[in-house]
Every structure is written in C-alpha cells, then in structure tokens.
C-alpha cells in the first residue's frame, strides 16, 4: 500500500476526514490550523486512527504536539508511509 501513497491522496483523505468530524468544508485547507477548523484533541485522535487504519502509519500523542496544521499531518504520513 505504501508504494502508492501520494501527498495529494493523503491530503484529500485528511481533509475529508476533518469535514466528517465537523470542520467547515470552506475553511479546510492544507495550511489551516486546528483552532481555525475548531478541531479538538479528540478529533485528532480520531484522525490518527484513520491514518493508522488506512496508511499503517502510527501517530503518537507525542507526535501530536508538533502537528499544528493539516499540512503537518499530511507530510508526516507521506514521510512515514514511504
């Protein structure tokens, strides 16, 4: 699976997940912060579950502290799935 992971795919999937968690689709973008999206810590845990289930990439609670935007998550997933 990891051979086919592209940044575009991951970004699309992460954005989709955030919208299902309740983020405003008009505000969701690669550069958006969690505060702008009104995404809370539990949403991020769910996002980590989606990423783990679909890309076999584990994002720990320590990692979370450094992931401040959608783009940070996308970059980490792509890097670790490679």
């Amino acid at each position: 699976m990891s051979a086919t992971v592209t940044a575009e795919q991951v970004e699309a999937r992460v954005l989709e997940a955030l919208v299902t968690f309740g983020a405003d689709a008009d505000v969701v973008s690669r550069d958006a912060t969690w505060e702008q999206l009104e995404v809370d810590s539990l949403d991020l845990v769910e996002l980590a579950q989606v990423v783990e289930d679909e890309y076999s990439v584990e994002i720990t609670s320590q990692d979370m502290q450094h992931l401040l935007t959608v783009g940070h998550v996308v970059d980490m997933v792509v890097e670790r799935a490679a």
Binding site: D40, L42, V45, E46, Q49
Partner: protein, 243 residues
C-alpha cells in the same frame, strides 16, 4: 425487541454478574459477545439461555490479562456481531492475603486482570465508539475500591483504580455521546464470594447478599438510552452496606 446496530462485549461473561449482565443486555436487544477464560460449558450455557429467550450471543475464549487479548476479542466479536458499542469490563480475580504476606505475583495477577485489562479493552473499545458517536462502557468495580477490606489490598487497589479510570475516560469522551460508568457491587452471591456471605449478612442493612441479577439491572440501566446523561459515575449496589 429493539434491533441494535452493534454489539455488546461482556468479559467474565460465563458466570455470576457477567452472565446475568449478558442476559440482561440481550433482553434489551444487544447481540452479546461473552468473553470467558476457562469455563466453556458455562459460557455456552449462557449463550444457549440467551438464544432460547430470543436473543443472540457468541462465546469468545480469551485471557484478558494477555496483552494481545483486546484486539483478538474485538476482532472476533465484530466479525460475528458487528461493531462493539457496549463494553462491560467484568472479568476479575482475587488473590487475598494481608499485605505483609501478599506476593508480587498475587499483586500483579490481580492488577493485570482487574485493572490493566479493563484499560486495554476500554482503549480498544473507543475506536468503534468514536466512529459511531455512541458508546457505553461499564466497569465492574467493588465497594472494596471505596472502603477498606483487610486482606484485599491488591483487589482494592485495582477496583479503586477502575473508579478513577472511569471518571477520567468519561470526561475525555463525553462529547462524543460515549458514557463510561462503574458499578460497585457489595456482597453478591457468586462463586467468588462463596463461603464469605454468612459472616457478612448481619452487617448488611438489607440482611442478605445481593444477586447477580440485581447488579446486572444497574448495568443494563447504565447501558440504556435513558442513562445518556450519566457518565463518570460509580453506582453502588450493596444493600446499604456502605451507606
């Protein structure tokens, strides 16, 4: 009977409070995975009783103190019965002794099975519950977690730990329509309390031991839609013993 979109998992479900809880949840329409460690005949008998009453149950053999058990239990339950939306952490063991004589093994065994396993199962249960935006977790604690009982420092630590874990996890997931509660039974007539009850009865205000069904009724309530605003609570079921 109400048709449910998911299932309930009850650990220690072959006998006692666990079996009574499995029957009560099945009567409320939940397909129930009955997790048992050793007594396959008792687990099957509970499943058969549920089936005879028009419900659905599935036995799963596992030792919850095994670190890999949680995933195996959930995968087996979900393959057979659908996403797990109810978890009752009931499996428990005793290894009594006064503190000066309590071995490391006796301490670890009780903490592993009664507390650590409940945490691992709770952590695993939250995956489908967060996705479903619904969940009910009930931890079977004990009045021994609330009040001293000489000879059970390991059991007391595990059960008090369950009460603390219940409160904190409840607060973490409350906004997702997931409730986490505990029941704290007093002296209940089960295999685990055999031989202890006669000496205790006169200290209990209702003058008798409780029944597994009386505890199961409280768990059934905490799992119900009617209990949607009850979370982080410990419901004492002890005939007034700690009142």
């Amino acid at each position: 009977m109400v048709t449910r979109e998911g299932c309930a998992i009850v650990t220690g479900g072959s006998r006692g409070i666990g079996a009574a809880t499995a029957r009560a949840l099945a009567a409320d329409g939940w397909p129930v995975a009955i997790v048992y460690r050793a007594d396959a005949d008792a687990a099957q008998a509970t499943c058969d009783a549920i089936a005879a009453a028009g419900g659905r149950a599935w036995p799963i053999q596992a030792d919850v103190s095994d670190a890999t058990a949680a995933d195996a239990i959930f995968e087996a339950a979900e393959a057979e019965l659908g996403p797990a939306l109810v978890l009752v952490n009931n499996a428990g063991v005793r290894a009594d002794g006064l503190a000066p004589q309590l071995s490391d093994d006796d301490w670890a065994t009780v903490i592993d099975t009664n507390l650590t396993a409940a945490f691992r199962l709770t952590r695993r249960a939250l995956k489908p519950m967060l996705r479903a935006r619904f969940g009910r977790i009930v931890n079977v604690a004990s009045i021994v977690g609330l009040q001293a009982n000489p000879g059970q420092s390991n059991y007391a630590a595990a059960k008090a730990g369950l009460v603390g874990m219940t409160k904190t996890v409840a607060a973490e997931v409350a906004r997702r329509n997931i409730t986490v509660n505990a029941v704290a039974p007093g002296f209940i007539a089960t295999d685990m309390t055999e031989g202890l009850l006669e000496a205790m009865a006169e200290r209990i205000p209702v003058r008798r031991a409780g029944t597994p069904e009386e505890v199961a009724a409280c768990i059934r309530f905490l799992v119900s839609e009617e209990a949607s605003y009850v979370t982080g609570a410990t419901l004492v079921v002890d005939g007034g013993l700690t009142a």
